[in-house]
Symmetry: C2
Subunit: 310 residues, 2 copies
Amino acid sequence: MTRFLTVGAAQMGPIQRSHSRREVVERLVAHLREGKRMGCDLVVFPELTLTTFFPRWYMTDQAEIDAFFEAEMPSNETAPLFNEAKRLGLGFCLGYAELARENGRVRRFNTSIIVERDGQVVGKYRKVHLPGHAEHEPQRPFQHLEKRYFEVGNLGFPVFKAFGGNIGMCICNDRRWPETYRVMGLQNVEMVLLGYNTPIHNAPAPDHDEHTWFHNQLSMQAGAYQNGTWVVGVAKGGTEEGIPSLADSMIVAPSGKVVARAGGDGDELVVHRCDLDAGQSYKRSTFNFAVHRQPDQYRMIVERKGAMDP
Amino acid sequence: MTRFLTVGAAQMGPIQRSHSRREVVERLVAHLREGKRMGCDLVVFPELTLTTFFPRWYMTDQAEIDAFFEAEMPSNETAPLFNEAKRLGLGFCLGYAELARENGRVRRFNTSIIVERDGQVVGKYRKVHLPGHAEHEPQRPFQHLEKRYFEVGNLGFPVFKAFGGNIGMCICNDRRWPETYRVMGLQNVEMVLLGYNTPIHNAPAPDHDEHTWFHNQLSMQAGAYQNGTWVVGVAKGGTEEGIPSLADSMIVAPSGKVVARAGGDGDELVVHRCDLDAGQSYKRSTFNFAVHRQPDQYRMIVERKGAMDP
C-alpha cells in the first residue's frame, strides 16, 4: 500500500527583534502559497516561529518577556495565516511561545500545534526537553534561558490522527533524546514534525560546535529508523541578532535516509512526497516492538533521572 | 584529563561448521598477539565467536544444538586463549553460546564476558534483544532461530568497573535499540563492547538489505553520541556457510564520529587509542541526564511493550 502525504519543511531565515508579527506572518503566508504551488498537504514551520529566539537574552521585566508569547491562537496577528491556510486547503504545524491560563494560573510553554486543512487545531505539544539554563550566566557570549522562560511540557509526547496518518511533534532539543521518538513510536507514529532553533555555538561545550550539523542529522536519522517513521526537521537558519544558527532543514525517511534538505540558510521550502506506509516494513520486522522489546529490562529509564556510577 | 585505553576490535572472517574450536582459538590468539604488538590493553571479539553462526539452521536434536554451546568458561578448548591473554597482560571480551545450570535448570543464553588482564572474568552479559523467530520458517533462504535456541538475557545491561573505566556490553541486535545504550548511559558507561553477526539479507524485509551498513553505523553512532560513550563494534564478516554477513567493524567516539573501521571482511584487528574521558563533555552538557531528562514523560517505554495506535 501507499498513502502519500506531501509535506513542506518551511525553513525560516533570521527573524530579528525589530520584525513585527505581521511581517513574519507575511513570510509564513508566502511559504503556504509556495507549498500549495508545489502540491503540499501540510507545511511545517520551525520552533518559536513568530519572533526572534528570545531565550538568548536575560530579561527580568515580565511584560518584556511576555511580549514574545501568544495568549491566544489564532490571535489577530496570526489569523491571516489560519485564513490563508484554510483558503488554500493546506494544513500546517506552527511553533510558538504559549502563555496559557490553567486552573487560574499563568503558565508558559514552548509549544507547537497541528492545524488541519479546515483551519481547526487538532493537536498540541509542549516541549519536554528544555535545554540551557535558568539563571543568568554572564560569561556566555549569549544566553540560552529556556529553563527560565518556559515550564517543562505537561502533555507527554502525544500522537494525533491527522492528514490520514499518525502524526506526532517534538521541538528542537527533544530531537536528541531517543525517549522522545520511542514514546511516539509506541503510538505507531508515522511522521514526526520537528521545528528547531539551534545556535551553532554551544557555550558549555564549544568542542561540539564542529559536529553540530552531524549531531542534528544523526539524531533525526536514528529516531526515524528506530521507530520506522518520517521525521520532518525544520530550522530557523542564518544570523539572527548576531548569532549564527544551524539551518540544514531536512526530511528523513523511515529508513533513516535523508531524502530532501535545505540548500541555504534563509526562507526556503523543502518538499517531499512521503508515503506514510513506508515505515510499515520496519514496524513489522526489525522494530516489531510487540515481538522484540523487553520493557522489564528498561526500568532504569524511568526509575533513574541522572546517571550513577555502577 | 585524559585516560587512555587502547582497544582492538578483532573482526573475524567466516567460521565454517567444519572448523574446530581449536582452530578458532588459534585465530583468536593471533589477534591477541597482534593486539599486543599494537599496544592494546583490550581486544574485543564478536558475538558467538567460537563457532559458525548456528541459528541459521533449524535443528531438533538437542545434542546437536548443544555442541555449539560452552558449559564452562574457560574450557579445555578455550584455556589457551585465557592463558595467552594473561601471559601478554591483555584483557579481552568474548561472545559465546552459554549453557548454564541455574537452580537445577539448564538454561541457554547468547553471552559475552569481560576478562581482565589477570585472566579473571569480571563481567558477564546475556543478550536481551534476540532477533529472528522461534519456529522453523522453511520459506526463508536461511533461518534466524535465536528466539528458539536462546532465552532472553536475565542480567539487564550491567556496567562494570574494568580497565580503569566503566565498561558495558551488548550483543548484535541490541545495538539497534536505544534502550540498550540508555540503560548503560544511566550507569555512566564510558565504553560499550559490542559483537555482532549480521547476515546482509534480512528475509522478512529484503528492502532493508541495501541499507544494512548504514543502519549498523547509524545505530552505533546514535548510541555513542546520545550517551557520551565509546562504542566498539566487532563483526563476523565474509561468507559463512554460504551466507554473506556484514563485517564493517568500527570504533565510534563519544561524539558519534567513526574513528577507525575495518577495510575488509576477514580476520582484521582495528585499533584505536580511546580517551575514556572524551565522553565527559557530553555527559556534562547536552546529555547531563540529571539536569535534562524527564522520566515522568517516558513511562510508556516500560508500561507498553508493543505499539498501539493513538
